[in-house]
Structure formats: structure tokens, C-alpha cells
Amino acid sequence: MNSKLIQLEDLGFSYDLGKTETIKGVTLDIPANQVTAFIGPSGCGKSTLLRCLNRMNDLIDTAKITRGTIKILGQDIHASDVDSIELRKHVGMVFQKYNPFPKSIYDNVAYGLRIQGEKNKSTLDEAVERSLRGSALWDEVKDRLKTSALGLSGGQQQRLCIARTIAVQPKVILMDEPCSALDPIATAKVEELITELRKEYTIVIVTHSMQQASRISDRTAFFYLGEVVEYNTTETIFQNPSQQQTEDYISGRFG
């Protein structure tokens, strides 16, 4: 069970009601409590696939799953009785550009619990502190929880977004290039955080940085033109790839 938290079975996805497929039959299993990195050149469908996992693509009218299934914890997430809103409570997401709400730091972290109907102040306080500590932000912001989140630095804002996501204790955290808008120091902090979070959460991360993938991930999938070229442990992918294409990409010969 643990080795197959997320199971993709011959998944096809299209942005234009099936005329052209952006993802062409992807099959892979993502294990629990590990960091899985998706790498590949721009436009290869890795972000699209990530957004399939919490059905964010539902927001696009012409988006359509053309074939295959996605199972998370054994449930088909496109089954007719699955509510995408319930799904997203368990599959959190961190975006490329940090996007805290224009509210206070506290309200940002408490948002997820509040929309689930949590009103008890002490429960909220506890969750906020736990999440902020979990995202290594607590010491930096504990004295200004009531000030606007938009006053934080970029790196802090991204870590706040992570805190906001883990506040509802999801099973999976999807990260869509979480460090691409950050400077190297902030990136290092977020990477450190991701390594920490692995203990409790299953993380799927899309990244453009090969070094980042090799530094933080346990397993890596290399995508090209909507297909998985190679999927293995990170060590194998980076040191002993079985496909020529993978080797070319990670050594910078194309892409």
C-alpha cells in the first residue's frame, strides 16, 4: 500500500476536449512519504500532470481526461461520486509564484481550517503554530501574526504558502516549481523544509532545476512530450540512466 499512494494508469489528458493529447498514456506509481520529482523540458506536460492530481484542471472548461485513471489511496479521483473539493482537502498544492491571501499571516494559515468550519480559537491557534513551526517560519513571524502576509519577503511568503497547505494536514502536497521565483538563499531554506516535510507527507514536486531534483527527491520521473521516458530512484536517474534521452537531458545536451 505504502509504495503505491498515487497510481496513474495509462493516463491521457487533453486541453482541447480531446483533439490533441498533452499527456499521452502515463503510468506510474508514487510511493508514500517520499519526495517524487517530475523533470523535463518546458511543455512536456509535467505541470499539467501535477494539476491532474488534485483536479485543478477542472477549472478549465475544455480540459478533459481522455483515458486511464488516477487512484489516490486506492480511490479513483474521477469517479462520479468524488467531490473535487473534498479531494483538494487531502491533496494540497503549492504554486510556482507564492500567493498568500491579502490577509494577516494568522488568517492565511487558519484559512483552510476555517473553511472546513473550525471556529474554536484554541484549536486554530494550535494549528497555526504547529504549521508555522512545521514550515520553519514560526520564529520569524510569531510576533507579527496579525500583520499582513504581503509584508513578508518572497521566501517567507512561499514558506507561508506551505504552512497554509500543511495546516489542514493533507496526505499529499503537490509543488509546482516552488522555488523558481526565489533567490538561492530562500531556495535553500525551502529545500531544507521539503526534506523535513517528507517525514510526514508525500510530496510531488515539479522542478526545472536538475540540481534541486537530485538534492531533495527520492525518486525522479523524466518527462518528454507528454510521456514518461524514465522513472526510477533519483540516484539511478542521475548516475546511471537507462535511456539515452534522459542522459542527454540531465547532462544539458538538449532541453
Binding site: 488534485n54 485543478m56 477549472l59 472548461d61 473539493i85 473534498e86 479531494l87 483538494r88 482537502k89 487531502h90 494540497g92 498544492m93 504554486f95 509564484k97 500567493n99 498568500p100 491571501f101 491579502p102 490577509k103 484559512y111 483552510g112 476555517r114 473553511i115 472546513q116 504558502c161 497554509r164 497547505t165 489542514v168
Partner: protein, 656 residues
């Protein structure tokens, strides 16, 4: 990649020049096509600002003479004693309001207790008219048939005979009519119905003499009303003495006032004419224009006899003499009223509505006592020689409770009734428009499918294209009737102000203006919602929030300042709207009676915009009334300006 030497080579040729290209030279300016286009655009922008400045200057210039002019008129009103009369009138107005309330309570109570008996009387009145009409018709028919000379005499003879005959003949027809009419009044009881039928029979047979039983009914009812009736009777005439004093001062001082005022105006014309003649005479280029100056001299000769001597001393002596009687009369009014109020307190009141009215009237009575005391001391201090200051004139305009123009009496230019009218209508309009427009904006922006938004958005925005006069007409001809009909429905009687007394009223104007303001608020609010970064929405949805939670907790708060700006601009549009309010607000220049609470929405009011549109056509340019209208326009302009600048600040703050 090129190396350095290549680059240096290609740039060092004489083909490259950094000199400004020469354009078309005009009056020392170096013009080229770009410059001309830029100048044209810049000119347009500055023209708009220039126009705005021009409007400001024009408004100020036209309005500026008002304050000193009004001061002169107020001073004349003081010297002629009108001011003293007004002091008394305030008490009478207070009395009238109070008496109306008590009388309403009385009538309501009487209708409740003796309603069926009361309906008998109007049924008889109608019967009378039915028979009369019938006779008239028959006589008319006869006279038309007969073209002979003795038409009239024979017609009268015929009328007499028909009258006698038809009384008996049409009895059954009359009874039928009564039966047809009676069920309309739902308050009537079986007993009263039977009684009315009996009376009707007697009536038909008695040759149109109203039976005693019928004519006795009103007195009988009043007797049974007991203490209540006595109270109303005690109050009814308590103001007689005061009213008489008021009438005599008013009558005499109005004449004086008019004479003084006309004298001044004639003198002003004469002065102006003489000045013109003088300038014509001294100007050598105008020598040929002797006819013009002769005409002016003739006009002066005409005007001079119109300036009449007036003995203000005699007039003012009369006024002071009347004032000396005032205190006794005012005290009499209060004390007699007190008797009535005491009786009222003891009287048996059965209906809730009357009880409320009486409770209100006891508060109004306290107010009346206060007004009376205040005016008493003002009259004691009153001195016709006390100068009127400019400040008095300013306060008389801004806080004046009356706008009365168009009669030969003293014109009063008080802004308050217009200002409160405008404000009240705007508030009612916003009360409807804000939830409607904001709700629509949230729906269209957050929930509507593309197809829905595709017709909802242009549809709502199309409202803006309806000419306001058309909307006004629609309001007068359709909505007014609907609203009044609706307000009379029994199940809506809990709505404050229902049933509506005035057909054209604040509520009606508010509803129509709300409709007009909707597209403005909707469009701007929708823009504001649209400007909320999609990243917020995405983040919220990714947290497992549904669309409603996202809209209400993230999108709306994030666009709040824009929504507030939209609301304020909508308010600005509503307060400046003219045509609709002119048509549907009822145009009664009086301060709405706020003691009715929310019920005030059923009253007719006038507005700042409406008064300008209504009266400006009737006044001569340059007279005080004209200037007063410009003052109102200036106030309106300043209100709109401040609303707009606050909005701009709010929007600027948001975009930071």
C-alpha cells in the same frame, strides 16, 4: 557572435547621425508629424480640464451675488414685519401637524368602531347622484329631441314629472345598485347592510329627502366616541386667536414688503438706465444713437411714478401692536390643547393604530410647547431695525426649512427641503441598488457560466442606455400605480410607510434610481472583482474551498476598496440624476417628516436637481431666484466633486 572590431567598424561611418531631424517650422516652433499628433492629443486633454474650470468659474460667478441679494430681501422682510409673522406661523405649522395626527387617530378609531354605520352615509350620497344623473340624462335626451322654442320650459316640466315617476319606477333598479355596491366595502356587517337597504327604500319613496335616521348618524357616532370626540373638539379651535394675529400681521406686512421690494427693484432699474444713458452721452462714437437714449429716458419717466411712498412706521406700529397680543394667544392655544390632551389620555382607545398616533402626538405636543416658548422669546426680542448680517443670509440659505418661490409673497430660499429630499431618495436608491448590483456582479464574475455571463453582463449594462426621461415616464405611468396598489395589499401592511399616501414618493423615485444606478455599480464592482489576481482564487480552491467560500472570503474582501468606490460612484450618479426624480418624486418642497420613521419613504419630496430643472425656465436671468438656483447647482456640484475625489483616492490606494 561578432567580435569587437566588427562592431566598431560598422558604427564609425558617417551614415549615423544623432542630430534631430528638421520638421516644419511655424512661428519659431519646430513641428513634425509626431509633434502635431502629440499636440492634438494633449490639447484635447487640456481642453477637458479647461472646460471643467470654465464650469466652476461660471457656477461661482452666477451664484456669488445670491448671498448679499438674499440678505437685502431678508432685511426687507424684517422691516416690513413678515419675519414676525413667520415666527407665529412656525407655531401654527406645528399645531397643524399635531392636529392632523390626532384627527387621524380619531377618524381611525371611529371607522373601526362605527365603520359600518359610517358607510351608510356615502351610499346615500351616491344614490343621490345616481338619481340626479339619471334625471339629467333624460332631460338632456328630451331637449335634444325637441328643437322647438319652448324647449326649456317644457323640459323643466318634464323633469318634474320624471322626478316623481322615476322615484317609484326605478326603485328596484336603485336597490340593485345598492346591492352591487355594498359588497365592495368589506367592513360592512350584515346588520348594517340590512339597515342600508331599509334606508334606501325609504329614501327612494321619500322623494329624495334624506331620512332623519341617516342625517342623525354622524352626530350619534360622535356622541358615542365620548371623551375622544370632546378632546378633538377642544383642540380644534385652540389656535383661532393665534391664527387671527398671524393673518392680520401677514396681510399688512406682505403689502409693505411688496411695496418696499418693488420700489427697490424700480430704483435699481432707474439707476442702471441712467448709467447707460450717461455712458451713451459721454461716448462720442454713439452720437447717432439718440433714439436709444430717448427710449431709456422715457422708460425712466415710466418707472419713476411706480416708486410709491410708504409709511413703514405706521405699519411697524401695527405689527408691534399685534405682537403684544401674541403671548396671550399662544398661551391660550397651549392651555386649550392641554385640556384636549388630558381628555385624550382618559379617553377609551381600542385600536392599536390610534394608540400609536396618540403616543406620537404627545411627543409632538411637547415639541409644540418648545416651539411656542422659543418663538415667544424670539418675538419678545424681535426688533425690526436689527441689521441682517451676511452670515444670517448664509445660514438662511443652507439651513432654511422652506423653499417657497413663484408667488408675490416673500420668496424663501432654504436648501434643507431639497437637500434632505435628494439625500433621502439617494439613500433609498442605494439601499436597493447596492445589494442588487453587487450581488449581480459577484454572480456574473464568480458563478455564471460563460453563456450566462454573455447575456447577463451586456444586459445589465444596457440599462444605462435607457434615456432617463423614458424611465421616468415608465415610473409615472406604470410603476407608480403598481406600487400604490401593492402598498394597499393587506398582507404588506407591516412594511413601514404602507399604504402609501402620495402616489409619487421617495420610495418610487428610489426604486427607479436604484435601477439606473445598477449598471454603474455593477460594471465597476465587476471590474474590481475581475482585478483580483487569479492566483488567490486558485490558492483558495486548492485548499479545498468551494466557489462560494472563495468568492465571499477571498475575492470580495480583496476587491473591497474597488467595490466601495463603485458604490460611491453609484451614489454620485443617483444624487445628480434629474429627469427621473423630476417626474416621480412628487416635487413638494418640504422637509420630509422624519417622525414617521421609515414611513417617510411614502412622502413626496423635491430634490436639488429637480428644482433647478423645474424652475430655471420660469425665472428671468439675473434675478435673485435665478442666482438661488445657481447656488443649489453649486452645492450639487461640490457634493459630486467630493464624492468623486474620495473615490479616486480609494481607487488610488487600492492600486498601490
Amino acid at each position: 557572435m561578432k567580435n569587437k572590431s566588427d562592431l566598431a567598424e560598422s558604427d564609425s561611418t558617417e551614415e549615423v547621425s544623432f542630430k534631430r531631424k528638421r520638421g516644419f517650422r511655424l512661428m519659431g516652433l519646430n513641428l513634425n508629424a509626431d509633434g502635431a499628433v502629440k499636440g492634438f492629443f494633449g490639447g484635447n486633454a487640456y481642453l477637458a480640464i479647461l472646460f471643467l474650470l470654465f464650469i466652476c468659474i461660471f457656477l461661482f460667478k452666477s451664484a456669488i451675488g445670491f448671498i448679499p441679494g438674499y440678505r437685502t430681501e431678508l432685511a426687507e422682510a424684517r422691516i416690513s414685519g413678515i419675519e414676525a409673522a413667520n415666527h407665529i406661523n412656525y407655531q401654527l405649522v406645528g399645531y397643524d401637524a399635531l392636529y392632523t395626527k390626532i384627527n387621524q387617530a380619531f377618524i381611525n378609531e371611529r371607522r373601526d368602531r362605527f365603520g359600518d354605520l359610517e358607510t351608510v352615509v356615502p351610499i346615500y350620497e351616491e344614490l343621490e347622484s345616481i338619481v340626479d344623473d339619471k334625471l339629467e340624462d333624460e332631460v338632456d335626451e328630451y331637449t335634444e329631441l325637441d328643437d322647438g322654442d319652448k324647449k326649456e320650459a317644457s323640459a323643466l316640466a318634464l323633469k318634474e314629472s320624471i322626478k316623481n315617476a322615476s322615484a317609484k319606477l326605478s326603485r328596484e333598479a336603485l336597490l340593485k345598485k345598492i346591492k352591487a355596491r355594498l359588497p365592495e366595502t368589506d367592513t360592512i356587517s350584515d346588520e348594517a347592510y340590512a339597515r342600508a337597504l331599509i334606508y334606501a327604500e325609504q329614501y327612494a319613496l321619500n322623494d329624495y329627502e334624506t331620512p332623519d335616521e341617516i342625517s342623525r348618524i354622524p352626530a350619534m357616532i360622535n356622541e358615542q366616541m365620548g371623551g375622544f370626540y370632546k378632546a378633538v373638539e377642544a383642540i380644534k379651535h385652540s389656535d383661532d386667536d393665534l391664527r387671527q394675529i398671524y393673518a392680520s400681521i401677514e396681510k399688512k406686512s406682505q403689502v409693505t414688503y411688496r411695496t418696499i421690494s418693488n420700489n427697490r427693484k424700480n430704483q435699481e432699474s432707474i439707476d442702471e438706465l441712467s448709467k447707460n444713458i450717461e455712458s451713451l452721452d459721454t461716448d462720442p462714437s454713439n452720437k447717432r444713437d439718440s433714439t436709444r437714449s430717448a427710449a431709456m429716458t422715457k422708460r425712466i419717466a415710466e418707472l419713476k411714478p411706480k416708486i410709491v411712498d410708504i409709511d413703514t412706521a405706521e405699519n411697524i406700529k401695527f405689527v408691534y401692536n399685534e405682537i403684544s397680543k401674541h403671548d396671550a394667544a399662544a398661551d391660550k392655544m397651549i392651555s386649550e390643547f392641554q385640556v384636549g390632551v388630558d381628555l385624550l389620555a382618559k379617553a377609551e382607545v381600542k385600536t392599536e393604530k390610534s394608540e400609536i398616533l396618540i403616543k406620537e402626538s404627545s411627543r409632538l405636543f411637547d415639541e409644540l410647547k418648545e416651539i411656542s416658548n422659543e418663538r415667544k422669546s424670539l418675538l419678545a426680542e424681535w426688533n425690526h431695525e436689527k441689521p441682517v448680517t451676511l452670515w444670517n443670509s448664509v445660514t438662511a440659505f443652507f439651513f432654511g426649512a422652506d423653499w417657497k418661490t413663484g408667488s408675490d409673497r416673500q420668496n424663501l430660499y432654504g436648501l434643507m427641503p431639497l437637500f434632505t429630499g435628494s439625500l433621502l431618495i439617494s439613500l433609498v436608491a442605494m439601499l436597493f441598488a447596492v445589494p442588487l448590483a453587487i450581488g449581480a456582479a459577484i454572480y456574473v464574475n464568480q458563478f455564471a457560466t460563460k453563456r450566462e455571463a454573455g447575456f447577463l453582463k451586456p444586459g445589465i449594462e444596457f440599462i444605462q442606455a435607457i434615456p432617463s426621461v423614458v424611465l421616468g415616464l415608465f415610473g409615472v405611468l406604470v410603476v407608480a400605480g403598481l406600487l400604490q396598489g401593492l402598498s394597499e395589499c393587506g398582507w404588506l401592511s407591516w412594511v413601514p410607510g404602507f399604504p402609501i399616501q402620495d402616489r409619487l414618493n421617495v420610495l418610487l423615485a428610489g426604486i427607479l434610481l436604484a435601477f439606473m444606478a445598477c449598471p454603474t455599480i455593477f460594471t465597476l464592482a465587476e471590474d474590481a472583482l475581475n482585478n483580483v489576481p487569479k492566483a488567490y482564487t486558485e490558492a483558495s480552491l486548492a485548499m479545498g474551498a468551494n466557489k462560494l467560500q472563495t468568492a465571499l472570503k477571498i475575492v470580495v474582501p480583496a476587491s473591497l476598496s474597488g467595490i466601495v468606490a463603485a458604490i460611491m460612484l453609484g451614489f454620485g450618479r443617483v444624487i445628480g440624476e434629474t429627469m427621473v426624480v423630476l417626474l416621480v418624486a412628487g416635487n413638494k418642497a418640504r422637509i420630509p417628516d422624519l417622525s414617521n420613521g421609515i414611513g417617510v419613504i411614502g412622502e413626496s419630496v423635491h430634490t436639488m436637481t429637480g428644482i433647478i430643472a423645474q424652475e430655471y425656465g420660469e425665472v428671468e436671468p439675473g434675478v435673485l431666484h435665478w442666482k438661488a438656483l445657481f447656488m443649489v447647482g453649486l452645492v450639487l456640484f461640490l457634493i459630486s466633486l467630493s464624492i468623486n475625489s474620495v473615490c479616486q483616492r480609494v481607487i488610488a490606494k487600492r492600486s498601490k
